[in-house]
Protein backbone atom coordinates (compact mmCIF):
# COMPACT_ATOMS: atom_id res chain seq x y z
CA UNK A 1 0.00 0.00 0.00
CA UNK A 2 1.48 3.35 -1.03
CA UNK A 3 1.16 6.04 1.62
CA UNK A 4 1.02 9.78 0.95
CA UNK A 5 4.80 10.19 1.01
CA UNK A 6 5.27 7.37 -1.49
CA UNK A 7 2.51 8.72 -3.71
CA UNK A 8 4.24 12.11 -3.66
CA UNK A 9 7.54 10.45 -4.58
CA UNK A 10 5.84 8.61 -7.43
CA UNK A 11 4.23 11.81 -8.72
CA UNK A 12 7.56 13.66 -8.56
CA UNK A 13 9.23 10.70 -10.31
CA UNK A 14 6.63 10.95 -13.09
CA UNK A 15 6.42 14.75 -13.34
CA UNK A 16 10.19 15.26 -13.50
CA UNK A 17 10.89 12.85 -16.36
CA UNK A 18 12.16 14.24 -19.68
CA UNK A 19 13.05 12.54 -22.98
CA UNK A 20 16.39 10.74 -22.70
CA UNK A 21 18.67 9.89 -25.62
CA UNK A 22 21.18 7.59 -23.94
CA UNK A 23 21.38 4.40 -21.90
CA UNK A 24 22.89 3.85 -18.44
CA UNK A 25 25.94 2.12 -19.94
CA UNK A 26 26.57 4.95 -22.40
CA UNK A 27 26.21 7.45 -19.56
CA UNK A 28 28.63 5.63 -17.27
CA UNK A 29 31.21 5.36 -20.06
CA UNK A 30 31.14 9.15 -20.44
CA UNK A 31 31.07 10.27 -16.79
CA UNK A 32 34.87 10.75 -16.66
CA UNK A 33 34.57 13.43 -19.34
CA UNK A 34 31.49 14.97 -17.75
CA UNK A 35 33.20 15.19 -14.35
CA UNK A 36 36.33 16.79 -15.76
CA UNK A 37 34.28 19.33 -17.70
CA UNK A 38 32.18 20.22 -14.68
CA UNK A 39 35.06 20.32 -12.21
CA UNK A 40 37.04 22.44 -14.69
CA UNK A 41 34.04 24.77 -15.25
CA UNK A 42 34.16 24.07 -18.98
CA UNK A 43 30.99 24.28 -21.09
CA UNK A 44 29.40 20.91 -21.85
CA UNK A 45 29.44 19.51 -25.35
CA UNK A 46 26.13 18.31 -26.79
CA UNK A 47 27.01 14.71 -25.94
CA UNK A 48 27.87 15.62 -22.35
CA UNK A 49 24.61 17.54 -22.05
CA UNK A 50 22.87 14.28 -22.99
CA UNK A 51 24.85 12.53 -20.25
CA UNK A 52 23.81 15.16 -17.71
CA UNK A 53 20.21 14.83 -18.86
CA UNK A 54 20.37 11.06 -18.36
CA UNK A 55 21.75 11.59 -14.84
CA UNK A 56 18.87 13.98 -14.13
CA UNK A 57 16.43 11.25 -15.21
CA UNK A 58 18.06 8.16 -13.71
CA UNK A 59 18.26 8.01 -9.90
CA UNK A 60 20.72 5.09 -10.01
CA UNK A 61 23.19 6.82 -12.35
CA UNK A 62 22.76 10.04 -10.35
CA UNK A 63 23.79 8.29 -7.12
CA UNK A 64 26.69 6.59 -8.87
CA UNK A 65 27.88 9.90 -10.31
CA UNK A 66 27.70 11.53 -6.89
CA UNK A 67 29.83 8.71 -5.46
CA UNK A 68 32.29 9.10 -8.35
CA UNK A 69 32.66 12.85 -7.67
CA UNK A 70 33.37 12.13 -3.99
CA UNK A 71 36.12 9.71 -5.03
CA UNK A 72 37.58 12.22 -7.49
CA UNK A 73 37.70 14.92 -4.82
CA UNK A 74 39.62 12.52 -2.56
CA UNK A 75 42.28 11.74 -5.16
CA UNK A 76 42.55 15.41 -6.21
CA UNK A 77 43.40 16.41 -2.63
CA UNK A 78 46.66 14.44 -2.65
Amino acid sequence: MLNKEQITTLLQFVASVTPDKISCDACLDLVPELAESQLGNRPLTEVLEDVQNHIDNCPCCAKEYETFLEALHAIAEE
Binding site: L2, V14, E36, N57, T67, E70, A71
Partner: protein, 203 residues
Protein backbone atom coordinates in the same frame (compact mmCIF):
# COMPACT_ATOMS: atom_id res chain seq x y z
CA UNK B 1 47.11 15.92 -7.53
CA UNK B 2 46.41 17.28 -11.00
CA UNK B 3 47.43 14.83 -13.67
CA UNK B 4 48.94 16.20 -16.90
CA UNK B 5 48.49 14.68 -20.37
CA UNK B 6 52.07 13.41 -20.19
CA UNK B 7 51.28 11.65 -16.90
CA UNK B 8 48.21 10.09 -18.46
CA UNK B 9 50.34 8.72 -21.31
CA UNK B 10 52.89 7.51 -18.79
CA UNK B 11 50.31 5.50 -16.87
CA UNK B 12 49.31 3.67 -20.04
CA UNK B 13 52.92 3.03 -21.10
CA UNK B 14 53.89 1.71 -17.67
CA UNK B 15 50.85 -0.56 -17.43
CA UNK B 16 51.65 -2.02 -20.86
CA UNK B 17 55.32 -2.59 -20.03
CA UNK B 18 55.79 -5.93 -18.28
CA UNK B 19 58.82 -4.61 -16.37
CA UNK B 20 57.10 -1.46 -15.13
CA UNK B 21 53.60 -2.86 -14.68
CA UNK B 22 54.02 -4.15 -11.11
CA UNK B 23 55.07 -0.79 -9.69
CA UNK B 24 52.42 1.04 -11.72
CA UNK B 25 49.70 -1.28 -10.40
CA UNK B 26 50.82 -0.71 -6.81
CA UNK B 27 50.75 3.04 -7.32
CA UNK B 28 47.37 2.92 -9.02
CA UNK B 29 45.99 0.71 -6.24
CA UNK B 30 46.87 3.42 -3.69
CA UNK B 31 45.12 6.08 -5.77
CA UNK B 32 42.02 3.91 -6.13
CA UNK B 33 41.93 3.06 -2.43
CA UNK B 34 42.04 6.74 -1.52
CA UNK B 35 39.03 7.47 -3.71
CA UNK B 36 37.11 4.32 -2.77
CA UNK B 37 37.61 4.90 0.95
CA UNK B 38 36.16 8.40 0.71
CA UNK B 39 33.29 7.26 -1.47
CA UNK B 40 32.23 4.08 0.35
CA UNK B 41 33.41 4.26 3.98
CA UNK B 42 30.60 6.61 4.97
CA UNK B 43 28.08 4.31 3.31
CA UNK B 44 29.14 1.20 5.21
CA UNK B 45 31.74 -0.14 2.77
CA UNK B 46 34.74 -0.85 5.03
CA UNK B 47 38.44 -1.28 4.38
CA UNK B 48 38.26 -4.87 3.16
CA UNK B 49 35.39 -3.97 0.82
CA UNK B 50 37.50 -1.17 -0.70
CA UNK B 51 40.56 -3.47 -0.96
CA UNK B 52 38.51 -6.08 -2.85
CA UNK B 53 37.05 -3.46 -5.18
CA UNK B 54 40.50 -1.98 -5.88
CA UNK B 55 41.83 -5.44 -6.72
CA UNK B 56 38.92 -6.20 -9.06
CA UNK B 57 39.36 -2.78 -10.65
CA UNK B 58 43.05 -3.34 -11.42
CA UNK B 59 42.19 -6.58 -13.21
CA UNK B 60 39.42 -4.84 -15.18
CA UNK B 61 41.70 -1.94 -16.09
CA UNK B 62 44.33 -4.27 -17.54
CA UNK B 63 41.60 -6.00 -19.56
CA UNK B 64 40.20 -2.70 -20.82
CA UNK B 65 43.43 -0.74 -21.28
CA UNK B 66 43.08 -0.75 -25.07
CA UNK B 67 39.67 0.89 -24.68
CA UNK B 68 41.10 3.91 -22.84
CA UNK B 69 40.66 6.70 -25.38
CA UNK B 70 42.51 9.48 -23.58
CA UNK B 71 39.44 11.74 -23.56
CA UNK B 72 39.87 12.09 -19.79
CA UNK B 73 42.82 11.76 -17.45
CA UNK B 74 43.84 8.19 -16.82
CA UNK B 75 43.16 8.26 -13.08
CA UNK B 76 39.69 9.77 -13.69
CA UNK B 77 38.90 6.91 -16.07
CA UNK B 78 40.33 4.33 -13.64
CA UNK B 79 38.34 5.80 -10.76
CA UNK B 80 35.13 5.64 -12.79
CA UNK B 81 35.68 1.91 -13.29
CA UNK B 82 36.39 1.46 -9.57
CA UNK B 83 33.22 3.32 -8.55
CA UNK B 84 31.16 1.33 -11.04
CA UNK B 85 32.48 -1.97 -9.67
CA UNK B 86 32.16 -0.77 -6.07
CA UNK B 87 28.63 0.53 -6.54
CA UNK B 88 27.53 -2.67 -8.20
CA UNK B 89 29.01 -4.86 -5.44
CA UNK B 90 27.67 -2.59 -2.73
CA UNK B 91 24.16 -2.67 -4.18
CA UNK B 92 24.29 -6.46 -4.55
CA UNK B 93 25.30 -6.74 -0.89
CA UNK B 94 22.59 -4.33 0.28
CA UNK B 95 19.78 -6.00 -1.65
CA UNK B 96 20.84 -9.66 -1.51
CA UNK B 97 17.96 -10.60 0.79
CA UNK B 98 15.31 -8.39 -0.80
CA UNK B 99 12.89 -10.05 -3.19
CA UNK B 100 11.52 -8.01 -6.07
CA UNK B 101 8.10 -9.49 -5.29
CA UNK B 102 8.17 -7.95 -1.82
CA UNK B 103 8.50 -4.54 -3.50
CA UNK B 104 6.37 -5.16 -6.52
CA UNK B 105 3.25 -7.09 -5.55
CA UNK B 106 -0.20 -5.84 -6.36
CA UNK B 107 -0.95 -4.88 -2.78
CA UNK B 108 1.98 -2.45 -2.72
CA UNK B 109 0.59 -0.49 -5.66
CA UNK B 110 -2.70 0.31 -3.94
CA UNK B 111 -3.12 3.91 -2.88
CA UNK B 112 -3.86 4.96 0.62
CA UNK B 113 -4.63 8.63 0.48
CA UNK B 114 -5.31 10.11 3.89
CA UNK B 115 -4.21 13.69 3.58
CA UNK B 116 -3.18 15.03 6.94
CA UNK B 117 -1.83 18.39 5.82
CA UNK B 118 -3.63 21.59 6.59
CA UNK B 119 -4.71 22.37 3.04
CA UNK B 120 -7.79 24.09 1.69
CA UNK B 121 -10.71 21.92 0.51
CA UNK B 122 -9.95 23.02 -3.09
CA UNK B 123 -6.29 21.96 -2.86
CA UNK B 124 -7.30 18.69 -1.23
CA UNK B 125 -9.74 18.03 -4.05
CA UNK B 126 -6.95 18.74 -6.61
CA UNK B 127 -4.66 16.27 -4.88
CA UNK B 128 -7.32 13.58 -4.75
CA UNK B 129 -8.14 14.12 -8.40
CA UNK B 130 -4.47 13.92 -9.48
CA UNK B 131 -3.94 10.74 -7.46
CA UNK B 132 -7.08 9.16 -8.85
CA UNK B 133 -5.98 10.03 -12.40
CA UNK B 134 -2.55 8.54 -11.72
CA UNK B 135 -4.06 5.37 -10.25
CA UNK B 136 -6.28 4.94 -13.27
CA UNK B 137 -3.37 5.59 -15.68
CA UNK B 138 -1.22 2.99 -13.92
CA UNK B 139 -4.00 0.45 -14.26
CA UNK B 140 -4.75 1.16 -17.90
CA UNK B 141 -1.47 2.34 -19.45
CA UNK B 142 1.30 0.27 -17.92
CA UNK B 143 2.27 -3.31 -18.62
CA UNK B 144 2.71 -5.70 -15.70
CA UNK B 145 6.50 -5.52 -16.15
CA UNK B 146 6.40 -1.72 -16.04
CA UNK B 147 4.26 -1.76 -12.90
CA UNK B 148 6.58 -4.21 -11.19
CA UNK B 149 9.78 -2.35 -12.15
CA UNK B 150 8.33 1.05 -11.20
CA UNK B 151 7.23 -0.25 -7.81
CA UNK B 152 10.61 -1.84 -7.21
CA UNK B 153 12.51 1.35 -7.98
CA UNK B 154 10.16 3.33 -5.75
CA UNK B 155 10.96 0.78 -3.05
CA UNK B 156 14.61 1.76 -3.41
CA UNK B 157 15.82 -1.20 -5.47
CA UNK B 158 18.48 -0.10 -7.99
CA UNK B 159 17.89 -0.70 -11.70
CA UNK B 160 20.72 -3.24 -12.00
CA UNK B 161 19.28 -5.29 -9.13
CA UNK B 162 15.84 -5.28 -10.76
CA UNK B 163 17.57 -6.42 -13.96
CA UNK B 164 19.37 -9.30 -12.24
CA UNK B 165 16.09 -10.54 -10.77
CA UNK B 166 14.18 -10.34 -14.03
CA UNK B 167 16.77 -11.85 -16.39
CA UNK B 168 17.23 -8.49 -18.02
CA UNK B 169 19.94 -5.83 -18.12
CA UNK B 170 20.33 -2.35 -16.68
CA UNK B 171 19.73 -0.54 -19.98
CA UNK B 172 16.54 -2.47 -20.74
CA UNK B 173 15.09 -2.00 -17.24
CA UNK B 174 15.93 1.71 -17.27
CA UNK B 175 14.13 2.07 -20.63
CA UNK B 176 11.13 0.10 -19.34
CA UNK B 177 10.79 2.43 -16.35
CA UNK B 178 11.53 5.57 -18.36
CA UNK B 179 8.84 4.65 -20.92
CA UNK B 180 6.40 4.06 -18.05
CA UNK B 181 7.16 7.46 -16.53
CA UNK B 182 6.77 9.19 -19.90
CA UNK B 183 3.46 7.40 -20.50
CA UNK B 184 2.13 8.44 -17.08
CA UNK B 185 3.33 12.01 -17.53
CA UNK B 186 1.67 12.26 -20.95
CA UNK B 187 -1.50 10.73 -19.49
CA UNK B 188 -1.58 13.31 -16.70
CA UNK B 189 -1.01 16.10 -19.24
CA UNK B 190 -3.85 14.76 -21.42
CA UNK B 191 -6.06 14.87 -18.33
CA UNK B 192 -5.19 18.53 -17.80
CA UNK B 193 -2.39 18.20 -15.22
CA UNK B 194 0.96 19.63 -16.26
CA UNK B 195 4.17 18.63 -14.49
CA UNK B 196 4.12 22.02 -12.75
CA UNK B 197 0.53 21.48 -11.56
CA UNK B 198 1.45 18.09 -10.12
CA UNK B 199 4.62 19.30 -8.41
CA UNK B 200 2.97 22.39 -6.94
CA UNK B 201 -0.10 20.47 -5.73
CA UNK B 202 2.16 18.16 -3.72
CA UNK B 203 4.88 20.67 -2.76
Amino acid sequence: MVESEAQTDEWVLRLRDTQLQGAALQELRKVLLRGLSRAFNGKGGGESFCEDVAQDTLIRILEKLDQFSGRSKFTTWAMSIAVRIGTSQFRRKMFKDVSINSLGDEENMKFEFADEDQVSPEDLEDRRSIVETLRSLIETSLTDKQKQATQAILGGMPVEEIASRTDSNRNAVYKLIHDARMRLKQGLESSGYSAEDVLSAFA
